[in-house]
Amino acid sequence: MASPMEQFEVHPIIPIEVGGLDISFTNASLWMVIVVAVTALFLTMGASSRRLVPTRMQSIAELSYVFIADMIRSAAGTEGLKFFPFIFTLFMFVLFANLIGLLPPIGFHPFTVTSHIAVTFSLAFFVFLMVIFVGLWRHGLGFFSLFAPKVPFVMLIILIPIEVVSFLSRPISLSVRLFANMLAGHTMLAVFGTFVVALASAGGALSFLSIAPLLAITAVSALEFLIAFLQAYVFAILTCIYLNDALHLHEHH
């Protein structure tokens, strides 16, 4: 029987090697291309009709746009809207990667690119770099006052290292959360799936019992849809919160 982790394996489709580096086009790359293509198609098709009374497609596209714009405004202020394209792209990519990963196997198994820490960490690392650059560009070296809360000097000796580690831990927590959620959810689905098959093929009263894991898998699937959306939202809103730190240092919105 297939291992529940088999769905996460990366296989090269077109092997490419440049200077000893393996940069093959893998199934992960393929599904990333698919995610980007579907997102682009969905948004351009949604926006193309430009009707005053929107169609369903247009409505969803507009809703997602307004949703993110509102989120940025409330978390990072109006200044944060400058970074709308970045955050919107991030949100849509994560959301569609999560949702496409949940498609049932139709001859081939959809690959969840966000279940790999290499992918989520790259995204989180871009956020991290952007926050540093925005902070330095806006406040110059004053950006580093982010690490020094307003407390007596003696406390700073302890607090500055803590704040620095806390700051450095952001991309880790951002990426680990998304990847762990996806990995756990899909593993759970696969394990329950093997229970259904094993019980159903056992025969007798046992095959009757296979209804229990089947019900569980249905419930977990529904939960996974919620998590797919929630994690994309969390990723985007935390990006906004970090951005707010860089834009406004110690103020709050």
């Binding site: 290292p161 803590i162 806390s166 831990s169 927590s173 969390v234």
Partner: protein, 104 residues
Amino acid sequence: MAPDNSDDSKAQRLAELEQRLKEARGRGEVRHTESPPSSMGIAFRLVSELLAGVIVGGAIGWGLDAFFGTAPILLIVMFLVGVAAGFFNVIRAAREMNEKRPKG
């Protein structure tokens, strides 16, 4: 009756709509679309914040030890700093969650 499309009446109708929306919001008919995060979401958020602090702190300590050859002093120190940073993260995240929750 054909709708009057002069700018004045448009502005007036817009103001009326605004008023009706405000009343509906007051009655709780138009709900805020943002749903509270699920308990599992909150748990995942807090756990990952704590873990990230500890992992980063430990990793920095390990790296510095390897660099200066002072094993295991810096690993221990930075691990403790990482634990503290993890708790900082958790407290900060929890505070954010409380701020977002509607009052009352």
